[in-house]
């Protein structure tokens, strides 16, 4: 990668830099000198740092999902549905059935929550299927900085940011406790925490088990989603490294077909993961809330 050949300079495409750049968030926070601004990869990231790409894309995708569903739902007719309405209704019925299967108490909250989780995470994950360099490249054109050199990092898949997945899992965790108190009441909930599963003489162990159980839920929930999507994204980035430099191309150079084949194979497989992870997150949330609302 040291020699620069032809009109396009590929020498700066150091794999480490390339991968690092793709795994960096567009961070906005307090700079060491006290002022606020974009934080480079070397600047210290304090707690009051905002990943503008994660926030922006998750907000945009959420609004997209809500806008489509809202517009379709507002005009939902009881007659023969149009194609888009049909698709939206299919999602609604799918979610409704899933929720009815696992959540048996009465709630007007769980099904909309499940729908939001499923669609939102699905759209998060779907961003992974866009070519890894496409959106950052467009962003560099818009911002006017040469691509890769000084352009700010941009990660378009919110579910590859732990902040997003933990935010979802943590919210679910809080909701589980709210449901516990709402459906069981503090007394029954306390009884369950202290006297299950081993009876009252093993109270400390019961409590310990309960804490482990409850803490492991949001951790597994968030890390499962994050891990799957992060690994998928990393693989896409690594595959992008197999794209040969434009200058080295000549007739008979078969290295050109390596990337499309790899990328297509992993993309097809990844579509399954995209849907599956959204589905798993939704189903587990429903199950956790069902456990919180039912007495053992």
């Amino acid at each position: 990668m040291s020699e620069a050949a032809g009109p396009i300079d590929t020498s700066h495409l150091d794999p480490n830099l390339y991968i690092g750049h793709h795994l960096e968030n567009l961070a906005y926070g307090q700079l060491p000198n006290g002022s606020w601004g974009f934080l480079g990869p070397d600047a210290p990231h304090g707690f009051w740092t905002f990943h503008l790409d994660t926030i922006g894309f998750s907000l945009g995708l959420g609004l997209l999902f809500i806008l489509i569903f809202w517009l379709v739902g507002r005009k939902a007719t009881t007659g023969v549905p149009g194609k888009l309405q049909n698709a939206v209704e299919w999602v609604f019925e799918f979610i409704d059935n899933q929720v009815h299967d696992s959540f048996h108490a009465k709630s007007k909250f769980v099904a909309p929550l499940a729908l939001t989780i499923f669609c939102w995470i699905f759209l998060f994950n779907l961003m992974d299927l866009l070519p890894v360099d496409l959106v950052p490249w467009i962003a560099s054109l818009v911002s006017g900085t040469p691509y890769m050199d000084h352009s700010p990092a941009l990660r378009i898949v919110p579910s590859t940011d732990l902040n997003a997945t933990i935010a979802l899992a943590l919210t679910v965790f809080f909701l589980v406790y709210i449901f516990n108190f709402l459906y069981k009441g503090p007394a029954k909930f306390a009884k369950e925490v202290f006297f299950h599963p081993f009876g009252k003489w093993m109270l400390p162990f019961n409590l310990l088990f309960r804490i482990i159980e409850d803490v492991s839920k949001p951790i597994s929930l968030s890390l499962r989603l994050f891990g799957n999507m992060y690994a998928g994204e990393l693989l896409f980035i690594l595959m992008a490294l197999t794209i040969p430099p434009l200058a080295s191309l000549n007739w008979g150079n078969l290295s050109v077909i390596v990337y499309p084949i790899l990328n297509m194979a992993w993309s097809i497989f990844h579509i399954l993961i995209v849907i599956l992870q959204a589905f798993i997150f939704m189903t587990l949330t429903t199950v956790y809330l069902a456990l919180a609302s039912e007495e053992h």
């Binding site: 926070g29 990231h45 304090g46 707690f47 009051w48 740092t49 905002f50 990943h51 994660t54 926030i55 998750s58 907000l59 959420g62 809500i66 569903f69 809202w70 379709v72 739902g73 507002r74 939902a76 007719t77 009881t78 007659g79 939206v88 209704e89 609604f92 019925e93 409704d96 007007k108 909250f109 099904a111 909309p112 929550l113 729908l115 939001t116 939102w120 919110p158 940011d161 732990l162 902040n163 997003a164 933990i166 935010a167 979802l168 943590l170 919210t171």
Partner: protein, 157 residues
């Protein structure tokens, strides 16, 4: 891993979205779905009713058709019988008439025969008288007598 304030923003965004979906997006669609489900159930039920009604109507129609067929057959049979009776009656009547005609003709024949016979006798009597007159006027011998008789016989025959 850098966990930072993005987490808080994401949680708030998430809650906001869930609230909006619950308040605005979810109810109308589910209502429409429920309503359509009811309509479809109603449609299926009424289709079932219609099908049953059609079946009943078909059965009724078949029954009516069979009845009509039976009736037609009965009418036909009756008509045939009646026709036979009429024919028989006509035959009998015409036989009677023919007999009457024959009797009439015979009677007529008798009358004519009798009239002819009467004429004949009258003529015979005249001839006999004429012959007798000739016999009386002339002296009859055997030969002459015989001649007269043979002449008479010749005129009768």
């Amino acid at each position: 891993m850098n966990i930072n304030a993005t987490l808080i923003v994401e949680m708030l965004t998430f809650l906001l979205f869930v609230w909006f979906v619950m308040a605005v997006v979810w109810p109308p669609v589910i209502r429409a779905l429920e309503k359509r489900r009811a309509q479809i159930a109603e449609g299926i039920a009424s289709a079932e009713n219609g099908r049953r009604a059609l079946e009943d109507a078909q059965k009724e129609g078949e029954k009516l058709l069979a009845e009509a067929r039976d009736k037609a057959a009965a009418i036909l049979k009756q008509a045939e019988e009646r026709a036979q009776v009429v024919v028989e009656q006509a035959v009998a009547k015409s036989k009677v008439e023919a007999e009457a005609l024959i009797a009439d003709a015979r009677r007529e024949l008798d009358v004519q025969l009798k009239a002819a016979k009467r004429d004949l006798y009258t003529e015979i009597a005249g001839l006999a008288l004429k012959a007798a007159g000739q016999v009386v006027m002339e002296d009859l011998n055997d030969e002459k007598h015989h001649k007269i008789v043979s002449t008479l016989v010749k005129t009768w025959s």
